[in-house]
């Protein structure tokens, strides 16, 4: 059985701190699994996502993402790894407002050397497929990102995360600013795409009501030994 994420005795300390922010003795995520990761503010969620994406490097221990030891890679290799294999969805989606929806979706391709080397038609094919699947019309794709509605921004953000056909998607509280209707639609859309492409998903959120839709639910207080355990009610999902 292959693991998309495999952590053992991981410790991370910010350069300005003396004590570690994150210590995870053991955590594994199987390939194709959709993980719901819950945690309070300051529990180390963002630090963990930075480690998974290779933006930060663990101070101690082992971290393997998609079978790659990120600590052994150079900074440039990690950037390339991120461009090639990872998709990131932000809270509020963080589309670049001065670009069109299409430019936002294809932005990551500029940094993906593999995508550059592959034929243009392949990228275009993937772009067309995502556009159709996510209901993004040509008219909408040509619009400035700043003019899109929240629902449209959601879909563009998902398309941007999926354009390079990533093997791991990291979603950092993408539904925190959405109302219930938009939130449910977004979750459905994202999980459907992950199922269809067998993509591993690490989804971070405060919203416990979403947990049931995911194949694995975990709490940062269980992963990170530094964080104090949450009250018993909050552990219910596990």
């Amino acid at each position: 059985m292959s693991f998309a994420v495999d952590i053992e005795s991981l410790s991370f300390t910010w350069s300005k701190n003396n004590s570690p922010t994150l210590t995870i003795p053991r955590w594994q995520v199987r390939t194709g699994e959709q993980v719901f990761l819950r945690g309070q503010s300051g529990s180390g969620k963002s630090t963990l996502l930075n480690l998974l994406s290779g933006v930060c490097i663990a101070s101690e221990g082992r971290l393997s993402v998609l079978g790659n030891n990120l600590a052994s890679m150079s900074s440039r290799q990690r950037d390339q790894f991120r461009a090639q294999y990872l998709g990131v969805i932000f809270q509020q989606f963080n589309l670049l407002p001065y670009m069109s929806a299409k430019e936002n979706i294809l932005l990551g391709q500029r940094f993906n050397k593999k995508a550059h080397k592959s034929s243009l038609s392949k990228s275009e094919e993937r772009y067309q497929y995502l556009g159709e699947t996510l209901g993004l019309s040509q008219k909408l794709l040509s619009q400035q990102a700043s003019t899109l509605s929240v629902g449209q921004q959601q879909r563009v953000a998902v398309a941007r995360a999926l354009i390079s056909n990533p093997q791991l998607i990291i979603a950092d509280e993408p539904t925190s600013a959405l109302d219930t209707e938009h939130r449910d639609k977004f979750i459905e859309l994202l999980l459907n795409q992950c199922h269809a492409d067998n993509t591993t998903l690490v989804f971070v959120s405060h919203d416990q009501s979403l947990a049931s839709a995911f194949t694995q639910q975990t709490s940062m207080s269980l992963l990170n030994t530094i964080v104090e355990p949450e009250p018993p009610v909050a552990h219910h999902a596990n």
């Binding site: 350069s15 963002s46 630090t47 996502l49 930075n50 994406s53 933006v55 930060c56 900074s75 440039r76 950037d79 390339q80 991120r82 461009a83 090639q84 990872l86 990131v88 932000f90 809270q91 509020q92 963080n94 670049l96 932005l107 990551g108 940094f111 993906n112 941007r160 990291i170 950092d172």
Partner: protein, 447 residues
């Protein structure tokens, strides 16, 4: 905010370009004002003062030169031609220059360009005048227009020579020199005007004076004669053309009064000399400067201009320095803008990092933005300078006599543009490195 930054850089570049261009144009204007004149002689004064009042009509002579001195100089064998210049009157604020026809024949501007007439021709009668192109443009005088001159060089004068009116007989083509802003009348008319003569009294006076003969050989002539041995024939021939042109005219002819030397002749402010042989220029200059009988200063226009620029060099450097400091201030404004926008950029940087952009891309992005702002500012500044020139060139020419041409894309302008771009790239390194550091430290967690 970016627009404001571009505008502030543009204003700085406008100042920088304008100062540089004005500096070059002023120099070009001064240098083109006189050409082909080997020596300027005038009453004892500094060479700068003599140059400024005689050619540029700035300032006043300390004393006058006698008509006899002019005659002796013009008859010197080394001298090919001599132009008397008499200043001190004005018309509607434009300086009046008393001279002879030799001025129109021999005076050159820019690169040996001769003065040409747009309308009419040179004065033949004593009460005829020729006006420069700017005078004609400003006062809209047609040929034949009657004009009364005013005493003194100010714009406002309470003393007008109403008894001695002039008629416009010639309008000069534009030269881009002080000639354009001057009024030219026969030199003898200046004297006649000031001694209160009318046309009829002057005619009687000339008739009487013609009976007086004899000229006194001046010591200077003896001193200078041995200097020049060549070109004698040609110089005499040219002088005869200048001085012996007779014209049928029922009014008083100005050569009549000039050649007969009525009274003591008109008092002069300066004398322009052209020599037969350029090699003898320094010897003639020394001879004039050391002449005990007629204490004069003789200057070489080129040398005097060089002295002027050496004096101006400090001012020019200061102006350039101030301009560069203004540019630096604008660049610091850009730096502040970039730093202030860093907080807003955290989100953008996080997105780019998440998509696989490495930190050097972030630095490059910041540098490109700074260069774009600076380059846009330079282009806008260049356009503003040319628009300013188009709007104010005529006003500057009429007020200061300076011809300001459109700003060319010269090496200096390219140099200042590169300086602006270099400064912006250098100063943007701070925010760029800050963005780099932020990209490394804040990761993907920006809210």
């Amino acid at each position: 905010m970016a627009g404001l930054t571009i505008f502030s850089i543009a204003v700085s570049m406008f100042v920088l370009f304008s100062v540089e261009h004005l500096r070059n144009e002023v120099r070009a204007n001064f240098e083109r004002a006189v050409s082909g004149v080997d020596i300027i002689a005038g009453a004892r004064t500094s060479q700068l003062n003599l140059l400024l009042y005689s050619v540029f009509h700035i300032g006043n002579p300390s004393s006058n030169v006698s008509w006899q001195t002019y005659q002796q100089l013009s008859q010197n064998k080394a001298v090919k031609w001599a132009i008397p210049i008499s200043l001190g009157d004005s018309h509607e604020g434009f300086p009046v220059v008393g001279t002879t026809k030799a001025f129109f024949n021999h005076f050159k501007y820019a690169d040996q360009h001769a003065i040409q007439f747009k309308h009419g021709g040179t004065f033949d009668g004593l009460q005829e005048m020729v006006i420069g192109s700017e005078v004609a443009k400003a006062l809209e005088y047609p040929l034949g227009h009657q004009v009364v001159l005013a005493h003194g060089t100010g714009k406002v004068s309470f003393t007008k020579h109403k008894q001695f009116p002039f008629q416009v007989v010639g309008i000069l083509t534009a030269t881009g020199t002080p000639v354009d802003q001057s009024v030219y009348v026969p030199v003898t008319a200046i004297d006649a005007m000031h001694t209160g003569m009318t046309t009829s009294t002057l005619r009687q006076h000339i008739s009487k004076e013609r009976t007086v003969a004899g000229e006194h050989e001046h010591e200077f002539t003896q001193h200078a004669q041995h200097i020049e041995h060549s070109h004698q024939a040609s110089s005499e021939q040219e002088r005869s053309i200048d001085e012996k042109q007779a014209h049928p005219n029922d009014s008083v002819h100005f050569e009549d009064s000039e050649n007969t030397g009525y009274a003591n002749g008109p008092a002069l402010s300066a004398i322009f000399l052209g020599l037969n042989n350029k090699i003898s220029t320094l010897q003639i200059q020394r001879a004039i400067n050391t002449d005990q009988e007629a204490p004069l200063s003789a200057i070489l226009p080129g040398v005097a201009l060089a002295q002027l620029w050496s004096i101006m060099a400090g001012v020019e450097t200061s102006l350039s320095l101030v301009s560069v400091l203004i540019l630096l201030a604008a660049m610091l404004g850009m730096l502040t803008m970039l730093l202030a926008s860093m907080h807003e950029r955290q989100r953008e940087i996080a997105v780019l990092r998440a998509l696989g952009a490495n930190a050097s891309v972030i630095v490059l992005m910041m540098e490109c933005e700074a260069l774009f702002l600076a380059f846009s500012g330079c282009i806008l500044g260049y356009m503003m300078t040319n628009i300013g020139i188009a709007l104010f060139a005529d006003l500057i020419q009429s007020q200061f006599g300076l011809v300001i041409n459109p700003l060319p894309y010269s090496d200096a302008i390219i140099g200042y543009t590169l300086l602006g771009l270099g400064l912006s790239a250098l100063l943007a390194l701070g925010p760029a490195l800050s963005a780099y550091k932020s990209a490394l430290n804040s990761g993907l967690s920006v809210r």
